[in-house]
């Protein structure tokens, strides 16, 4: 897997298996069991994380979120891609 692979709407992603998490109030806290690093996801990011439990096409993910949060397409895609790239940098995702 090429870590520097450009993440686009046509990429299919799934979350990595070495992270475990749990709900605390409205957010999702996680630990990367390999690195020992901790993360906290806000409500929307944790929603995205739940959807990544199964492989999903980024375009489909955006479409779902656009409908659910009533956000316009361009902004939704921009923000989702930014978040996914951050996650990819931390080895939280796998391209499938």
């Amino acid at each position: 897997m090429n870590d520097k692979q450009n993440l686009t709407l046509e990429t299919r992603l799934v979350r990595s298996e070495h992270l475990t998490g749990s709900q605390v109030d409205n957010e999702w806290v996680m630990i990367d069991l390999d690195s020992g690093e901790y993360y906290g996801l806000n409500a929307i990011a944790s929603d995205i994380w739940q959807r990544l439990a199964e492989p999903v096409l980024v375009a489909d993910l955006c479409a779902d979120l656009k409908q659910r949060y009533d956000v316009e397409t361009e902004r939704c895609e921009r923000e989702v891609l930014a978040l996914l790239r951050q996650m990819q940098e931390k080895h939280m995702l796998r391209v499938v």
Binding site: T20, S22, Q23, V24, D25, N26, E27, V29, I31, L33, G36, Y38, G40, L41, N42
Partner: protein
Amino acid sequence: MSDLPVTDDPSFKLATHHAFGLRWHFPFEFSAFTSATDACIADVMVEFAHLPTISADPENQGRLSRVDANEVIFMVEGVATFQVCAGRWVRLHPEPGSDTQMMKLILMGAVAAFVLHQRGLLPLHGSGIVTPQGARLFVGHSGAGKSTTLAALVKRGYPMICDDLASICLEGPDEPSVFPGVPLYKLWADSAEALGLATDVLPRVREQLDKFIVSAAGGRQVADSIPLHTIYQLEVHDQPQVSFEELHNAAKFHALLDHTWQNLTLKRMGLHKIHFQQLVSLSNRVRVVAVRRPREGTETGILQLIERLEADFQV
């Protein structure tokens, strides 16, 4: 009533003391720890042993020299080398001519915290008291005011549970709960002064250090574990007033992580997954409040903080 153990197995010893929810066997006098009054086998056995000399290794975090899922070995320069195994054995190798008191303080602190980790209990960096609604802990970094707050509340009649190290149990019907620790606390000279405590008769933590050991053994004691109600995270800020802010979400989780003993060593101990689950459980069951106080630790300042805390105790 407990039966006397019938065994020739030398690895079993009778408990000499109680603290942190465990029965300890010490091969020496340890007046600070509460003495065991019933004949029970110790959970944790402390003994003198010859341990390898540890050289200061800058690659290792601080003074830790060997850490894995089963044991921790660390040295405190000028005091002793300590080995903690499987939450059951503690071996001590004091340096010749070293200060026994410092060794005992480390036993009550870092060593006990490692034992708790190895046994599945959660050690938090905090002091605690009992109120009608349950135990309330004060966690914070060095200098935040945990022991001073404890001393002020003990003076007002609240029973002390622990100082500096809080042993938290997350299993059982009254989860989460705090076990009583050692009935003594350590105060810097200026805090003692602000609280009206004379230090000339108190033992020092270490020669040339203006930090004193205060016994709470004469005060109201706690015998059993107490359900945990609220954790206050003490911090200093550059405002003139005390502020209270209840924490939620990831910030709440992180406050508890921040104040877990030896949190940077959890992964090497192979405990990071279990500890993560403990913190999630604790976060979802206890109230956490960030308390920020003015930097100057004056008598008036302490009183203001205590008044605000007592008002919160009514919640």
